[in-house]
């Protein structure tokens, strides 16, 4: 179970279903201009044996506007996926969280109980595009069965129906419409996940994520292991389902090329902290990244210098007192090693 560790209960909403029309008491703002997701000071740490803690995410803050795509990039093991799990309430039992992550209607995802998350959040207000769709789908059921189940649970029929659920022909038609929305070919609906190519499995998973018409899509490494053409197609489709229709997209990825292709905003994560938050055009183009780590990451691309960042990231269980990147940074000095830089004006570096 997820718990808050600091005394932060003031922001905690009482649990229970919160219909979209009911604005939260926290007053984070509702209406068309409100962010789809407002994350403030989100921290996640794991309790380990002997009283040790692993600080997986520390003080992450960002906003996602309707239609915006934010790419969260960083090396493997930097805490990206833990952040995604926290937003869906899927952290393991030894996790402790702090801070808040509010949806447009004021619901704090970190404070919500399992019942609220299961019944009103997952699939309905936050859609998940999984990392490896072929493994995410149930191997013994066809794509049609997946879609029909999801539609039955998430879509309310226009005319009153028993138990408020779609049935029969209407259900079948709605499932086919859901498939079509993600360009999944109708002729493949009766196939099992293992009979699909990587691209089609990805579309099936995207179709499932879109069924609930959630205002926020969360894509966790949606392109890992796909070939370049498929990466382009997948991220282009994600963009079509988000920016063009006013949904927000949080894409977690280590694939900088995919991020460059669709992101409006880039957040670079290092050792559990967001070290740079910048508009994508400025980050990938001119004037370029401002944090030395972000610059190193870009320089490692084969299109650019193809030189790795020296050294290795620190253990999240034993972070240094100063800047976590100081040990690998050419510009590090005594100030960097002594004092941890805060994220100010989009960058957390003493030298930026």
């Amino acid at each position: 179970m997820t718990r808050h560790h600091p005394a932060d209960a003031a922001g905690v909403r009482p649990a229970g279903p919160a219909p979209a029309g009911d604005p939260g008491p926290a007053g984070s703002g509702t209406g068309p201009g409100a962010p789809v997701l407002a994350v403030d000071g989100l921290s996640v740490r794991f309790r380990m044996r002997a009283g040790r803690h692993v600080e997986a995410v520390t003080g992450a803050s960002f906003r996602l506007a309707p239609g915006e795509c934010l790419a969260l990039v960083g090396e493997s093991g930097c805490g990206k996926s833990v952040l995604a799990s926290a937003l869906l309430g899927l952290l393991p039992g030894n996790a402790e969280t702090a801070g808040s992550a509010r949806l447009a209607d004021g619901l704090d995802l970190l404070a919500a109980d399992e019942r609220t998350l299961a019944r009103t959040v997952r699939g309905r207000r936050v859609g998940l595009v999984p990392q490896s769709p072929a493994a995410h789908l149930t191997p013994v059921r066809t794509i049609r069965a997946h879609l029909e189940e999801t539609v039955r649970e998430l879509v309310r029929p226009a005319v009153p129906a028993p138990r408020g659920r779609l049935r029969g022909d209407a259900l079948r038609a709605a499932a086919e419409a859901a498939a079509e929305r993600a360009a999944f070919p109708a002729g493949h609906l009766d196939r099992y996940p293992h009979e699909l190519s990587g691209g089609l499995a990805q579309r099936a998973a995207t179709a499932l994520a879109l069924v609930g018409d959630a205002p926020l899509l969360l894509a966790d490494e949606p392109t890992t292991g796909l070939d370049r053409e498929l990466v382009h197609r997948t991220v282009d489709e994600l963009r079509a389902h988000t920016r063009d229709v006013g949904r927000a997209l949080l894409m977690i990825t280590h694939d900088l090329a995919a991020a460059e292709r669709i992101a409006d905003t880039v957040a670079v994560m290092y050792a559990g902290r967001i070290v740079e938050l910048a508009p994508a055009a400025a980050f990938f183009g001119a004037p370029g990244p401002r944090h030395p780590y972000a610059a190193g990451l870009l320089d490692a691309l084969p299109e650019r210098a193809f030189t790795p960042i020296p050294g290795a990231p620190p253990e999240l269980g034993a972070l240094p007192p100063g800047c976590a990147f100081a040990a690998r940074c050419a510009r590090a000095d005594d100030a960097c090693r002594a004092e941890r830089p805060a994220l100010t004006e989009g960058v957390a570096c003493h030298h930026a």
Partner: protein, 223 residues
């Protein structure tokens, strides 16, 4: 030379994945093989690494025709090829500590006494910290595990390396670091390299020459 001639291979004789593939590498040469997902390039890489017996065709390694694959390959042929796979999780025995994972080829060939020195030297070369060596696969990240898998592939000092999508799961910095390790090893030993992948930019930057899947299989059959 590493030569593959007329290779037809797959998992069902009636529907082979690879039909009539030809490939030749000169000693010390690096070749990047490009192809879309599912085209059969990983199967061909397994054939080149003597890990999969082709239905038809011959593999010639340094002038010797290969007669057996997997455990039937003569040891000196088998150990002359090092392999790194795409998914380190699936290529690592979860019971082994990283130190034993890297040393496994030495143990398997009865050279256990060399392990301590060789493991220390290689893990430093691939950038694997000393404190990681006592951990098991589930306690390290994909990038760290792939570094261990690369060290394992190099520990017998193979004359040939086969890297099948070695970096597909890795971030940009780890990718660049591992490619550098491979290139330093090749500069040291003059080993040849077959790098299989789907990223033309990466392979063009990494290899002496690249070829596309369509250019190495007999034209007519494609699905």
């Amino acid at each position: 030379m590493l030569e593959l001639t007329g290779i037809t291979a797959g998992y069902d004789r009636r529907a082979p994945v690879v039909r009539g593939a030809h490939l030749a590498l000169r000693p010390g040469e690096s070749l990047g093989l490009l192809g879309p997902s599912g085209c059969g390039k990983s199967t061909l890489a397994r054939v080149a690494a003597l890990l999969h017996r082709p239905d038809r065709g011959t593999v010639t390694l340094d002038g010797r025709a290969v007669t057996g694959y997997r455990h039937r390959a003569p040891r000196d042929l088998r150990t002359s090829v090092g392999v790194v796979f795409q998914q380190p999780r699936l290529a690592a025995d979860p019971r082994l500590r990283l130190r034993d994972l890297v040393a496994e080829p030495l143990r398997a060939t009865g050279r256990r006494t060399e392990a301590d020195a060789a493991v220390a030297e290689l893990t430093e070369r691939v950038g694997l910290g000393r404190d990681l060596l006592t951990r098991r696969a589930h306690e390290v990240s994909d990038g760290q595990l792939q570094r261990a898998c690369l060290a394992r592939a190099l520990i017998l000092r193979p004359r040939w390396l086969v890297c099948d999508e070695m970096t597909a799961m890795l971030d940009a910095s780890t990718t660049a670091a591992l490619v550098r390790v491979v290139e330093e090893y090749r500069a040291d030993t003059g080993a040849g390299l077959l790098a299989v992948g789907h990223d033309p930019v990466l392979l063009a930057r990494w290899c002496d020459r690249t070829t596309h899947w369509d250019e190495i299989v007999d034209g007519t059959v494609k699905d």
